[in-house]
Amino acid sequence: MRRLLIFSAALFVSGAVSAAGEMLHKECAACHNLAGPVAQTLNEAITRKGPDLSYAGNKYRQEWLESWLQKPYRIRPAGMFYGDHIKPGSDGDEVDPGTLADHVSLAGADAVAIVAELMKLRPHDDLIAKEKIEPGSIIKQMGEMSFDKFWGCMACHRIESDYGGLSGPEVYTAGQRLQPEFIASFIRNPQAWEPRTWMPNKGVSEGGIQKMVQYIELLGKESVNGQ
């Protein structure tokens, strides 16, 4: 009897996983690249409807992704490629909100099962293994000064909901969303992950990368507490 129960449970789990796999490859794949390789040309990069998920397991925090899929919100204020979502305004370009689409939300079990599949996608374990996140903390004002004034990252990223650039993903939730090793690796060499990304390699020093990771994690924690 006990064996039968275990067998039934195993069937149920494998059924849920295969259903998740099917949903992933049928529905999610309509907008997301799952199989790789990442966009190699500009046209491939700007015609993507959603973030490349072929390295999702190297990038996202599992618990955040599960939660976000159940209650998605906009992370990129101007969409995947800002160029498709701007219009001329009285004082220059502005985001055209009518062109932005919302992400579908999933039921809890589906989100958990799909994320379990996504976390298996880890083609860049090599890049992640190169990163060593040093324990430490940073005073918020110091982090902000480095981010805004020293490295100029605020040009494209927001450090709070109404301050900073619009073409890049918001940074004040990045600490919740992303694995710290990914943050470090992406700052170090964005083109190693996405050759045509519009995130430049700013040649940030090792110390600067550690500071940025600490600052982004701090912002993420404050953002959670503020909600």
Binding site: D93, R196, W198
Partner: protein, 117 residues
């Protein structure tokens, strides 16, 4: 000798990642417009909160005061390399030198100007 050369050439092709060259108009639209604006006038969607406003590429007077070499350097190495704003990032990790040279010429079409004119 010939076979060695062939081997080196083959290795260069297989080992070095070769990116297809993109046009200056496409590169400008994707990488520059976010700050310099869809009209090239410095009024991109990122400009609002910047402490130093992005350069107006249609400003012939200002742009004619910058040599092609300086424009190349600022695109490749960033604003701080020429004592300008750090908000202008270095794009040397994104573009090939050839693409940067094409972008310099593209800027000349936007300002309808040459250095010193």
């Amino acid at each position: 000798m010939v076979s060695r050369l062939l081997l080196v050439a083959l290795l260069a092709v297989t080992v070095l990642p070769v990116q297809a060259k993109e046009s200056a108009a496409d590169n400008y639209r994707v990488y520059c417009v976010q700050c310099h604006g869809s009209q090239g006038d410095g009024k991109g969607i990122n400009a609002r909160d910047m402490s130093v406003v992005p350069r107006d590429h249609t400003d012939a007077k200002a742009m004619s005061g910058r040599s092609d070499d300086m424009l190349f350097k600022v695109i490749k190495e960033g604003g701080s390399s020429v004592s300008k704003s750090v908000l202008m990032p270095p794009w040397g990790g994104t573009f090939s030198d050839e693409e940067i040279q094409d972008l310099v010429q593209y800027l000349r079409t936007l300002c309808k100007c040459k250095f010193g004119s």
